[in-house]
Symmetry: C2
Subunit: 495 residues, 2 copies
């Protein structure tokens, strides 16, 4: 990770290692005041967009601690593992596939333990710490176990993904929501993985935040519920498995993905929706976005179709996964039907089925990091240009100087706006420093009360993007603020 | 807990036991779609109100997993315990103080282990499960330990309170926020306690949500930052320690608490703010609210002043703690200065001090439960009357019937409102059933499109509170909705 953006994220109050006064454990991060605002705004924008796809998509909340039986059924107790090699001399443990990838520059994620052992001896891999020889590779379960109760008889785990909470609650919600499909259950919350070697800052954390939407649906009728015509003439930025040799991302018509590549139409429809979210709302530049298809070997066996959603991040050296779109079939509910002995089958119009799941899975921390990476337009000046809906503050209100004449109107404007928008009020220090501070945290608009304005009831409105200033009437501020905050009004279109 | 409200909370999509298809572990609850909305709204209202107290109060986010060193320093590793007695025959464990309280109807929370053993033998307490005799009482640490890394060498715990995250981050925020006091750091998030005997549903959970604001301040100058005149003529509903005999809550002038009871003026100021939050925003009836003072023996030794905030809940049999206001002095930062060897002292106007902490601590789940308890106005009809800002949906939009003529306008109104408010659109089933459903989840206002309205551009607006209906112009809906949602316009004042 770029040290520059990392130190800048720390200095400006966005994100840094947890419990740093105690030296921090690897893979744990806290959000400062600016980061917490940015994260909450990202979550709100995500919620509004994806819950808006269907009236029957709902946010729920479920526990971080799950009983062993549930995670046994889901397969996590037995198979949620990474390969580990331990130095026989100093005892240090490493993620075997990562060591091999670094040493050989070829993908090793899918190697079996035997293949790893063979590779280690073939390339003569030794402990990076002490040069000692490695023992045999083994699988390490990444879940954190928890002992519930005084005797630890209730074995449990911290959830490795939020998705399970939605599967466990599907049946009850299906009843509450009057037995209709599609039914979407979204969870935004923590997930935990005891990574063998957490690296790259917020990209691979041991405690992280997910925003996941599980759409429970009937694959035979799901498309009828969607306005497929929205795909007409639209293209998706993809890198398919059969394009792996080429470097370029292709812009491919939706229809072509459906007809030529045999992707389900509902899947491509959701690719388009995810792409619109990133390009139109999060404002990721088109050339930095792609869907990256996972091969049959790379994807989990239950995923019938699996594309990662990747963004090109300069701080992480290229395209990196921020989200995934997974057509999981009926794998999850079937597994829980077997494990819990509760019937997951539903009846719809005389048909019986175990609903299929289309999962939209987003790493919140990675997405927040991407905002800092992408929208830090100038590393030298440190100016951050965030979309108004995402910025920690949409507006800042300043009296030009800390003078008794200017403060009342500035406070009045602050009060006028603060119920509806994120507004920062600041009266200390030079106006130049205050502008610079807002540039640094990505506040798109600053409103300054000066002496001229007191006589003609105007204030200056400054656009961070261009540093241009315009004089606007105080009694028009509310209307202008609404337009700018929603993005419906552009600064350049102000008279 | 009242079984009625509990089953109703489940049936209507508010809250139920986690992982219920696997039989659930005691003390774990999930929020359904309606509960998640209610909770998120409560959090947003809390944030807006308490962050609004000072421009230097900020929401942050910190990890659930904390290193042992931090919790050793805070005192939790050694002292965050409950007394436990175990049956020597069947091996069942119980919380000793609770057993004694139930058997004797007197408080036992503060008994030492020796006192517990004496009491157990004095009253002849036997195992409620098998009548076997108890062994000696012992302390049980309520934190969940976590082993981080492949060898478990990094010992950690799930945080037992969100507060520690604010203390650990104080120093960095103090620098980022330009070295000003008061500085407020708020965290809304999960906390975990391995309760020996979780009971009373959501009231005592093993995984729960806290909303805590830690105000770091200089006790000598904090009051200068507050508008103390707001307390003039205002009274606080209290039950002080010296009123324990009497049943009635007293309404006591703020000045009297400061002058007669020697409470710090900044403390009483925040009592008033908390009281306003509950009475004016959450709409708790005055006769169901009180501050309950904890005696020196009942409160943690580091709390210089400690009142619980209690609400009278019919489902829990009386006044129960929903929040606490704790003047913790410089205990926390001093402990972390010793533990981390990082200097927590700050310099302000030539004075050096370790900032004091005033903590506003709220149990989110308890508060959400209280909303269901208090606002369920009629258990027979099941009508829930939630304030517009808190209700899962503020508005519902219905076409009177599922007719092609009515649906377009209904959808248009839904689109008009849904960006700014929580709006439910529903077109299936009889209008009576749809009203009843909204009554059940506390939707304050329903908007219905009927045939008359198509000719004169009106809709009916129904007030859940009174079931009264009024006809309003479609082009006035946006203005009316804004007024009703904010509470500035009352339904009865509509012409």
């Amino acid at each position: 990770m770029s040290e520059d953006v990392q130190s800048l994220a720390k200095r400006r109050g966005f994100i840094w290692q947890s419990a740093e006064i105690y030296g921090s454990m690897a893979g744990f991060y806290d959000y400062g005041a600016m980061g917490a605002r940015l994260k909450r705004n990202w979550e709100n924008v995500w919620l509004k967009y994806f819950m808006g796809l269907n009236d029957n998509y709902h946010l729920i909340d479920s526990t971080n601690i799950l009983p062993e039986a549930a995670l046994k059924a889901s397969g996590h107790v037995d198979s949620f593992t990474d390969p580990l090699v331990e130095c026989t001399k100093c005892g240090h443990a490493f993620r075997a596939d990562q060591l091999i990838e670094e040493a050989t520059s070829t993908a090793a994620e899918e190697l079996s333990l035997e293949e790893i052992d063979a590779k280690v001896s073939e390339i003569g891999l030794a402990c990076p710490k002490c040069k000692g020889p490695f023992g045999k590779a083994m699988f390490f379960n990444m879940m954190f176990p928890i002992e519930v109760g005084t005797k630890g008889t209730d074995r449990a785990y911290l959830r490795p993904e939020t998705a399970q909470g939605a599967y466990l609650n599907f049946k009850r919600h299906f009843e509450i929501m009057r037995r209709k499909l599609p039914l979407g259950l979204a969870i935004i919350g923590k997930a935990y993985r005891n990574e063998i070697a957490p690296r790259q800052g917020v990209y691979r954390m041991r405690e992280f935040i997910q925003a996941e939407l599980q759409i429970f649906m009937d694959p035979e009728t799901f498309s009828d519920e969607l306005d497929l015509s929205e795909m007409d003439g639209k293209e998706i930025l993809v890198q398919l498995v059969d394009m792996r040799g080429k470097k370029d991302v292709q812009s491919m018509p939706c229809r072509y993905l459906i007809e030529q590549y045999k992707l389900p139409d509902f899947y491509v429809y959701h690719m388009l929706k995810v792409q619109e979210f990133y390009l139109d709302i999060i404002k990721i530049p088109k050339n930095k976005f792609r869907f990256y298809e996972k091969s049959e070997k790379e994807r989990a066996f239950y995923n019938r179709v699996h594309f990662d959603i990747e963004v090109d991040l300069s701080t992480l050296g290229g395209f990196r996964e921020l989200a995934g779109l997974h057509y999981r079939g009926d794998y999850d509910l079937t597994k829980h039907q077997i494990g819990s002995k509760e019937k997951m089958e539903v009846s719809l119009d005389g048909r019986k089925l175990i609903p299929h799941v289309l999962e939209l899975s987003f790493g919140v921390d990675r997405n927040v990091w991407a905002l800092l990476d992408i929208h830090l337009v100038d590393e030298r000046t440190g100016v951050l240009k965030l979309p108004p809906q995402l910025a920690p503050y949409t507006f800042a209100v300043f009296p030009l100087m800390k003078k008794d004449e200017l403060i009342p109107l500035a406070k009045e404007i602050h009060n006028l706006l603060k119920d509806d928008y994120d507004v920062c009020y600041d009266q200390s220090g030079s106006i130049g420093k205050r502008y610079a501070r807002m540039d640094e945290i990505g506040t798109p608009f600053c409103i300054t009360v000066d002496f001229d304005g007191l006589t003609d009831d105007t204030v200056t409105l400054r656009d961070t993007d261009t540093t241009e200033q315009k004089r606007v009437k105080v009694d028009e501020l509310e209307r202008i603020a609404r337009g700018l905050a929603s993005g419906k009004l552009k600064f350049k279109d102000l008279n």
